[in-house]
């Protein structure tokens, strides 16, 4: 299986170590869950990489394995029932799955931070926002209470919370949804991590607030030259901020592409179907194209290509052979940098 492209290679020497190569690289990762109804194969051989300063969008529906992959990277997977039977996760060239508990813990929060969808349930309701922000500095950097508080105010300023000094002693429920998501971002930023994983960071927010938060996230990423993994189901959000995109279906990456190209010329029937099934704001459509059928049951993933029961192009080979992620080329064979598709008929899909 091929790994995802290495476009926009940026030297990742911010923290002063001499590792060259991607900041984070996931290789052939498998995750399964043991439930009473059987083994749910949530992730089945995922490969991706992120460089410093780069944004990778992982796109997929519920059950595609996009969040489970991120949890495995972050080391917050519930095990059991989860299990990682196979795979490697390299952070700056070191396999995190082989690290000791203590080593992983020191990476979590300091080097890799995560932003969740639901900011309200991710913040402790009985502690002030300032205390929770300051805790990072007290625990990891041994600052005094006063210094930590000053740092917390600084962070709140940085994520553009108005009147930060006055609001530092407020509790999470006193903030609106958008402001709480900013606090989450501030917490993730506190120790200036190399990589941020954002799991549906704006899904719970209103449209007008979504734009603010996404802009803030993009701006901070540029400022700190961080790697960003953006997990989402929204093709629209991705278009704004991502550099490259990986589309997941039933625990596999089915298509990879630099972000602009995927909208013009999708190379996998699933991506194509998704793009066609979204109503457009700027045109009044007739009947929408709808992908038929339902997302697969992970306890019983269809044989061959997992998308075959819903695919308009499916042939016999799709029901028997799992298509690997292959590089996608122009009609004349020229390389399309960074593009890959796990479809037996990618040529027909992209070139008509």
């Amino acid at each position: 299986m091929t790994t995802i492209d290495k476009t926009a290679e940026v030297p990742s020497a911010r923290s002063g170590d001499d590792h060259v190569g991607p900041l984070l690289e996931v290789r052939d990762l498998h995750v399964e869950f043991h439930t009473r109804d059987g083994v749910a194969k949530a992730v089945n051989g995922v490969n991706y990489s992120v460089n410093a300063g780069e944004t990778l969008a992982v796109l997929g529906e519920s059950g595609s394995g996009k969040s489970v992959t991120a949890q495995a990277v972050m080391g917050i997977l519930d095990m059991p029932p989860g299990r990682i039977p196979q795979g490697e996760i390299f952070f700056r060239g070191q396999d995190m799955l082989k690290m000791s508990y203590e080593e992983r813990r020191s990476i979590r929060g300091q080097k890799i931070a995560m932003i969740f969808q639901d900011a309200l349930s991710s913040l402790n309701p009985v502690l002030t926002v300032g205390y929770q922000l300051g805790e990072m500095f007290r625990v990891h950097q041994g600052l005094s209470k006063k210094e930590a508080r000053a740092k917390a105010i600084g962070l709140m300023d940085q994520v553009k919370i108005p009147a930060a000094a006055a609001r530092v002693s407020d509790y999470p429920h006193q903030f609106s949804g958008g402001m709480r998501q900013r606090i989450m971002i501030a917490m993730a930023l506190a120790l200036e991590p190399d990589l941020i994983i954002a799991d549906e960071p704006t899904t719970a927010l209103d449209v007008t607030v979504q734009a603010q938060v996404m802009d803030l996230l993009a701006e901070l990423q540029r400022e700190y030259n961080m790697g960003l993994i953006l997990i989402t189901h929204d093709l629209g959000v991705v278009a704004d901020v991502a550099d490259k995109i990986a589309v997941m279906y039933a625990g596999r990456i089915v298509e990879t592409s630099p972000v602009h190209e995927i909208y013009k010329r999708p190379a996998h029937p699933y991506t194509k179907g998704l793009l066609e099934s979204i109503p457009r704001l700027d045109q009044k459509g007739q009947e929408l194209f709808a992908i038929k059928g339902l997302p697969p049951n992970l306890l019983n993933v269809p044989s061959g290509c997992a998308f075959n029961p819903r695919c308009v192009m499916a042939q016999d080979i799709c029901r028997t052979d799992i298509p690997p992620l292959r590089p996608v080329t122009e009609r004349d064979g020229t390389d399309l940098v960074g593009r890959g598709s796990a479809c037996h008929f990618w040529k027909e899909t992209i070139h008509g």
Partner: protein, 315 residues
Amino acid sequence: MPDLTKTAPVPDETKAPVADPSAVVKADKARSLWGDAWQDLRRNWYFVISAGLIVILLLITAFPGLFTSASPTTGDLVNHFLGKPELSKIGSPEWFGYDGQGRSVYARVIYGTRASVIVGVAVTLAVTLFGGLIGMLSGYFGGWIDALLSGFTNIFLGLPFLLGAMVVLQAFTDRSIWVVVFALAFLGWTQIARVMRGAVITIKQSDFVQAARALGASTPRILFRHILPNVMAPVIVVATISLGVYISAEATLSYLGLGLASPTVSWGMDISGGSAQIRVAQHILIYPSIMLSITVLAFIMLGEAVRNALDPKTR
């Protein structure tokens, strides 16, 4: 108005069998939540053991004569209480030895089961019906009805359970099983009422109750068809666990001499009698105590197992 039956069926988007593999695997198997819970319970050792114990206890309650030939009430002073247990003679009157009046401890343990189980089951039934009703009305109607019923519940909650039961029992000279049941139920219903009220308030706000209201469903229909089946799980769990608590409460009261009285046989009374002889004949105390602990534990374990099976969060 259009007639639904005349329309042509739409091209099916979800019927394609391959599209839903689960449909193929479990074709046409209707699995209710209770059915799922049962599947869970069957594989749970806690449940299997506790349910087995409870079945035996119920058998003993119904047919004590099947388990011992001796009488629990007639003693023969030939069998002096210093007659130690003969553990090899399983099931014989002398198995657990004899008490001070020459009665078989084994027979008394067997016959004592009846009082404990009847008190436990009857109090639980009474408490669930009364407390459940109060909690449901209070939670569903809210407003002043809730203020009134909750206030009433809180007053009873303020009364200390055992102390209150003792005071109530003092008022009766003839203390039969049913008097003890009344005393415990009188003070014990508040917990179920509170659990029920909370559950009803949560379920009342769910969309499916709103949907039923929007259809024009009557209040009884909403209460009994939509709310009640969805609040039974926590109530059953609390009821099962507290069944064990009521059994130990009965034993405590009887131990203190305020619960059951002779000629009714009760573990609590035997433990009380046995504790007076603890220096000379421990077996009079030990065997009823073991039975009591096993019984209480069985019900609490059953409640825990049912809770785990019904709690969707553990799935």
